[in-house]
């Protein structure tokens, strides 16, 4: 299912257009307030665009109410219906569109099997852990056979110990689906996404194949995600390769130290958008404190 999307929302300074190919998974990265949630809301029909047009496999989206769009949304929290059993939760989509109970239940069992959660079928959502609930949430979203699957930081609220298993599950179920996943985690992007969009200020500031965008970042945000500095000339450099001097250096970038923090066994010094990693002894030799003027070079 191919998604073509173009929309503006003046009140949110949002102006975005892009397309997602059939079977493709796109990761959307960007700082808070970049417009990621607005984008998902517009596609799912929870927000209205001032202008624009979106089609899913040629069919208009913006005129349709949410329930007719064939777009499933998986949020940070699983939001399983507390009054229904796990099985009834997964069967909800089919039951809502008029499928017979027995058929809907058989199909729900199939999807529970797909997420290795058959043993939870008769439980109540309140009896599940966050990771278990999110697995059921994935099964419930997939059981409606959505034309497009939206994932809004699906692993952000989970215990770190269950994230790798859930990521593996998502990789399996997203492989041949059209999906958009909003994430803050660069590992999600590398593992799950064919392409990456970087949003900032309601605009698309970078896009391309995942490795291309993240290994050669063109925005400070994307560079920071993969632990690199983006220099004014467009090149990138690792914080460990940045030299710090308290005297002026030809070709260096001068500025006051913004922050100093311990980073593993190194000390990370930030000057504007650029981070430099120093050994503790080098840091002590320089005697740096926030506000001191330094020059960075590499």
């Amino acid at each position: 299912m191919t998604l073509e999307f173009a929309a503006t929302v003046a009140a949110r300074d949002f102006d975005l257009s892009f397309s997602v190919a059939d079977g493709e998974t796109v990761a959307v990265l960007g700082p808070n307030g970049a417009g990621k949630s607005t984008m998902l809301g517009l596609i799912a029909g929870l927000l209205r665009a001032d202008s624009g047009r979106a089609t899913l496999d040629g069919a208009e989206l913006f005129g349709l109410p949410t329930f007719r769009r064939g777009v499933s949304l998986l949020a940070q929290e699983a939001l399983l219906f507390p009054h229904l059993s796990v099985l009834e939760n997964v069967a909800f989509g089919a039951r809502s569109t008029g499928t017979r109970r027995s058929v809907a239940r058989t199909r729900a069992r199939h999807w529970l099997d797909q997420v290795d959660a058959v043993e939870f079928a008769s439980r109540r959502p309140a009896q599940l852990s966050g990771g278990e609930a999110q697995r059921i949430g994935i099964a419930r979203a997939l059981a409606t056979d959505p034309r497009l699957l939206l994932l809004d930081e699906p692993m952000a609220a989970l215990d770190v110990t269950v994230v790798p298993a859930l990521r593996g599950l998502l990789k399996r179920v997203l492989s041949d689906r059209t999906a958009i996943i909003v994430t803050h985690d660069v590992v999600d992007a590398f593992t799950l996404a064919d392409r990456v969009f970087v949003l900032d200020g309601g605009r698309l500031v970078d896009s391309g194949p995942t490795r291309e965008v993240l290994e050669h970042p063109r925005t400070a945000f994307a560079a920071a995600l993969v632990g690199l500095n983006l220099l004014p000339d467009g090149s990138t450099v690792a914080p460990s390769a940045v030299a710090v001097s308290t005297t002026a250096v030809a070709g260096g970038i001068g500025g006051p130290v913004d922050s100093v923090e311990t980073h593993g066994d190194l000390v990370r010094v930030r000057v504007g958008d650029i981070a430099a990693d120093l050994t503790p002894s080098r840091f002590a030799d320089l005697g740096l404190a926030p506000g001191d003027r330094v020059w960075l070079s590499h």
Partner: protein, 264 residues
Amino acid sequence: MRSVGGVPRWVVVIASVGAAFILLPLVAIISRVDWARFIPLITSQESVAALLLSLKTAGISTLLCLVFGVPVALVLARSRFPGQRVVRALVLLPLVLPPVVAGIALLYTFGRQGLLGSTFTFLGIQIAFSTAAVVLAETFVAIPFLILSLEGALRTAGSRYEVVAATLGASPTTVLWRVTLPLIAPALVSGAILSFARALGEFGATITFAGSLQGVTQTLPLDIYLQLETNPDAAVAMSLVLVAVAIIVVGLAHRGSNPELFRR
């Protein structure tokens, strides 16, 4: 002064007086009951007729409260329209209106000379001073309880589950029946019980708008009031029946608001 569980002792003393003020009158009723004649008193033809009429009219008005109150609560909690705050305030007006004023208002709405009176007269329906008038009076004073309870529950529940349901393909009507109403079921139950209790105890609006005709409009509170003059023992006995009903209602409403379902 020392404190009890973090509450200053003098507060506990005042609280005891307050609680006694509520409980003593109940003890007074029980102490005045003529136990030897209790059963015959509450099973007299007049009393039974009044009790049955009360249960019937309060039951029907609870149904009317649900049929009309649930949509009002939904619209107030889930949509935004100009003048919404004014509408909410007016809808809750019967809560604070003296019941006798409510009765007069209903009389000049549905009575023969009322706003809609000629319409009903034309249709051959005479509402004032009929059992239907009792139901209308009770519904009028009881419906705010249901609306208040439901609107609060709807706002607390939020619309996140409803959004999820819509993305799973459920139409707004399906979402209402399969998500919204089940989620607020506890409030629905306790709101309905409170409405029933308010309807059962209705006096002022009923006697003004419906009068007191035995078997037709004379509900239990009206019967008790009138019997107090002629047969105080019967009035006391019937009062105890209403006290028992009230205690059961409070117990049910309390349980309805603490459902097992949402306990972790």
